[in-house]
Point group: D2
Chain length 376, copies 4
Amino acid sequence: MKTIRIGLIGTGYMGKAHAIALHSAPAVFPLSANISCEMLAEINPALAAKKAAELGFKRSTGDWLELVNDANVDVVDICSPNYLHKPMALAAIAAGKHVYSEKPLALNGQDALEMTLAAERAGVKTLVGFNYAKNPASQLAKQIIANGEIGEVVHFRGTHNEDYLASPLIPMSWRLKRAYSGSGTLGDMGSHIINMAQFLVGDITQVNGDLQTVIQQRPIADSPGQFATVENEDQAHAMLRFNNGAIGTIETSRIAWGRKMGLTYEVTGTKGTIVFDQERLAELRLFIPDGNTAREGFKTILLGPEHPDYKNFCISAGHGLGYNDQKIVEVRDLIEGIANEQPLWPDFRAAYKVNLVIDAIEESNRLGQWITIIEG
Amino acid sequence: MKTIRIGLIGTGYMGKAHAIALHSAPAVFPLSANISCEMLAEINPALAAKKAAELGFKRSTGDWLELVNDANVDVVDICSPNYLHKPMALAAIAAGKHVYSEKPLALNGQDALEMTLAAERAGVKTLVGFNYAKNPASQLAKQIIANGEIGEVVHFRGTHNEDYLASPLIPMSWRLKRAYSGSGTLGDMGSHIINMAQFLVGDITQVNGDLQTVIQQRPIADSPGQFATVENEDQAHAMLRFNNGAIGTIETSRIAWGRKMGLTYEVTGTKGTIVFDQERLAELRLFIPDGNTAREGFKTILLGPEHPDYKNFCISAGHGLGYNDQKIVEVRDLIEGIANEQPLWPDFRAAYKVNLVIDAIEESNRLGQWITIIEG
Amino acid sequence: MKTIRIGLIGTGYMGKAHAIALHSAPAVFPLSANISCEMLAEINPALAAKKAAELGFKRSTGDWLELVNDANVDVVDICSPNYLHKPMALAAIAAGKHVYSEKPLALNGQDALEMTLAAERAGVKTLVGFNYAKNPASQLAKQIIANGEIGEVVHFRGTHNEDYLASPLIPMSWRLKRAYSGSGTLGDMGSHIINMAQFLVGDITQVNGDLQTVIQQRPIADSPGQFATVENEDQAHAMLRFNNGAIGTIETSRIAWGRKMGLTYEVTGTKGTIVFDQERLAELRLFIPDGNTAREGFKTILLGPEHPDYKNFCISAGHGLGYNDQKIVEVRDLIEGIANEQPLWPDFRAAYKVNLVIDAIEESNRLGQWITIIEG
Amino acid sequence: MKTIRIGLIGTGYMGKAHAIALHSAPAVFPLSANISCEMLAEINPALAAKKAAELGFKRSTGDWLELVNDANVDVVDICSPNYLHKPMALAAIAAGKHVYSEKPLALNGQDALEMTLAAERAGVKTLVGFNYAKNPASQLAKQIIANGEIGEVVHFRGTHNEDYLASPLIPMSWRLKRAYSGSGTLGDMGSHIINMAQFLVGDITQVNGDLQTVIQQRPIADSPGQFATVENEDQAHAMLRFNNGAIGTIETSRIAWGRKMGLTYEVTGTKGTIVFDQERLAELRLFIPDGNTAREGFKTILLGPEHPDYKNFCISAGHGLGYNDQKIVEVRDLIEGIANEQPLWPDFRAAYKVNLVIDAIEESNRLGQWITIIEG
């Protein structure tokens, strides 16, 4: 069996999640290739070595370019801050490597398109870490919709709200600067719910949004009494029109007190409704009228072995899945797509469509009108 | 003690709810006046007499004008279809009667303004049946916000979704025709969530909305094979900007499968969040960070005797309130306002502001841009 | 149409609930008789007069025996402390009056049997205020079970927990003394869940329980520094065996922090399961396997017009019912039973069976073994 | 760093869960030793070899005794059917190996005691797979109780109900025969909730239970028309008395329609209440009265980095944990206990106490009276 060798760049929040998934996936799923955690890059050699030991990687480097060009790395796995996705991905593509990147793919649609076209021209595989679409509950939602079980979708309401920046005492960081992060909550969390809307309902053709920076100044860490100006939005919402005629809204906030993993959606069709809340990630609520109104109601479906991918984790229903399990499904997709030379989703093009929607929401906010999305 | 004599017009859904509340209120609340269910009008004398017996009214008539002009009627209580609110209210005002009207007040802002000015000039009391704002849970939400417990409000998301027209087999009716109902779901249910937004967050200054008629033809009742064109929207959503700087969205649908009383809201402030669902009408969820993140979470507060109006229904917490209990609170407000010559809310002016928002949402939908609301 | 004239004794918590229901019922339900709130008794004439004015009763007295023997009282409605139920009911029966009594019927089974036999011999109607069985949601549960929709019942788990005595600072009261209240939480709240078990599953034949008084001393009100000994249990649970072969447990507590109206049950059958929580009194959860395990789950059924009694309150589903609405159903039953000379449930005999179960649980606690219930 | 070499026996449901955890744990937690998946035993060499490849074990054997005696195996990990736990564990102990066994430890207390004493005499480490006690949510519950945040525990109610045998069409299996499984649902799932009760509240001193086999005959697989007699109970409940004076109940069923992972508990103390449901495994509900009754309610705490072990999985709150994550915590405990020569919990003695409680519940069922538990 072939071995696919991974080179991981970045070992923060997402880097660790990738490492756990890379080690777990082979025991969970029957894979078409072995995984080798080949090399790890961090901002200096010492940190890289330490993290490689912790996360089970064979080699390490303080220079990500060395990793990208290493002959024994097949996949470049990018878990760095957003503004570095582009140079790293372009270098990896130039070196003929497959790319597994965290989201959002780029700071804007223009950059994302450039990366997409480079990958398409080079013929390398790409996968972007919109892991919530890998949650078996959301795969089930997709399946129910695709089967026509709720009829034609007529409305979508999605949110991705968290409160990690709700306190005005939290200091300035790269995520709050346009040059490093692009948009604010729209790129960070909004990208997930946009991707989910596209996954479940299809392409978005027009948007009209409203953005707001509520906490306009934040303290500078380690500089008592000094403040910096926040450069991107704390909260945003937008109206959506989908290609298939459905309409909807999305909302995203990084200052929504109480919401910890507030990715939610409600999809209404002509024959039923699906409701989901990622804070209860292993259940899906489903309403299908069956003619007996005295016994109708939303069903709470607990994930089980009949649902997508669940049985590989556990053969008994209702035993629960966790955040890292979504990443294991994502890694499975990555390995299977590469080993069997099959399409991956969401690839760079799919992620570019997310960036396009973010750009259009920002433009609609500037112009106060609907913006039509035109794919490059 | 003075007696306030009620003349009820219309005995459908809302007429019965009013009757129940008029009979119950004196046993629930210590009132400043007695209530007399004086007279009832229906579309013909026989039906009126039958309904008067059923609903406990002393006299009846097949002519609403007779009721309006009856010397022993102090308050004209209007529970007729929407397009009749205006002529009935204007006649009542002309006769010097106080008016208690169901919502929406009028088919459009222009009519509502005319009614408002007439009432203000005549100096009669008016109250409009936005009963969800009388729910003690929503009064509690208002109190929490007014106290500053969640800080400054920064975001509001509201819905009022039901599924009573979700089946395409449900026939055409007056609610689906512009001349009789004005807007569709926006006036019928959207008016409630707009009123709630204004109640909780304050005046709305700008809106930008999207409307859609999903089921464009409906069967004509008792005419097999014949269809009529639906003239107003099945679903709508809008972005809102409030006078105090908060932003938000509302959503309303009459085709949202599974939602039976889907009035919900989430109000996010700089210091906390409130979440409410009218399908669980006697509880409110509240998140206030208290510095101990290891013990923070949304609290589910069950209504109890410390909350507004609850103890008059029951002295033990958590025993539950029902739909009709909201109407009892509303009737209490009506009687107290008249007996003590105090302001009532929501009066015709408050209801006019709801109609203004609906008109503006419709206009934003036509023009594809933000509409500023200008009060007459 | 006949008029049924009510004489109400006691105007505390339950007395007011009865008054509200007596005034509301005629507008909610088409009744077979008129209701007259004829007379009210309280512990002295002044209080009685004040309460009669507040609660809408025509006449009043400081002597309950006068009310019982008043020629214009048809039904004696007993809302006094538990130890007075027996003398009042026996006097009413002796005077040929129908009796509507609050629960528990008596301090023990012996007294309850005496009252039952007296009523049966006199041929008067009796009804006992186990109002939770009148909740349309529990009527629906009963209907589902009776239809065989969950097959044969094999297990019942019920609770009625509240926290109104959880604080040790709450002073001694009549409820905590055997001579005035009989058992503690078993009679006060346990009686409701026992009645519910009998309503839903049928007769209980054997019990085995454990009782505990956790807060053994309580302060004496208005006597700083003085304490009295609590004479009955704070918490109890018991195992049950039903006549139909099902087994189950009940649990009751008056010191269960956080529980405000914690009457809950889960009924498991050979073909499905019902789950209910009175804190969400207008919904029922139902699981019926339908062969498609990938779409199975508990359905949350919101009460609506297809369910027992709901449509008289509101014709739209999901709009919610309250605590007082249960009492309105109970009053409807009372009036219909008397007017149409039909059986009432739960009558004194049904309530006697509740007292029998309580006595048997207490005995099992003393003896440490199963006790068989023998009806007198 | 030392390497601990694991020999896994059995690759069914639990065997795979162990394998996933053994591979994932090093990336999740900083461990004090390396883990080597050294050897795997199955019922024949071919299956063993296949499973070793799938689950990432280096070597395999069709003879578990060979594994037990292999010089390169440090820990014998027993995931076989219940009746094999004893011979395998005794052989492992005799060979001086540490033992990691699935639950229940033995078919009865006598066997469990023999195993416990053998391990204690040999001085090997033991750990039994009561993984639900490793869930960070239940660790949090334990912490809250240990801190005294809910005061003294006065009541415990626990369930572990599932529906995997609810259908009478499910055929006979080893789990339903006393010689292979011992008790029925009590050992299989009841053992978990008994262990949880002991974990949270402490030693159980007296029990009194009721057991029932509802489906007494089951079809024999592959033998159409033939049935076998079920030899152990489908459902059971028991009353408990704890050493610290608290009382409680447990309930367990394998025929509880709709329950998939129905391990739940409610722990009531003199100062608050904890509620947990394993079907929502990453949240805990907590009620602590704080003097402001108008703002009190159960808090839904989502697990986050301040709670036990969570931050090793994810540094953001509310992102969710899964079933396999509990096993990762368990493996962390195993490795740390062995590497650092520290006590493990639940070891064989703790698991023996679970078996003792099961035996006592069975005896109380036979005798119809309370049974006092006496530790050997």
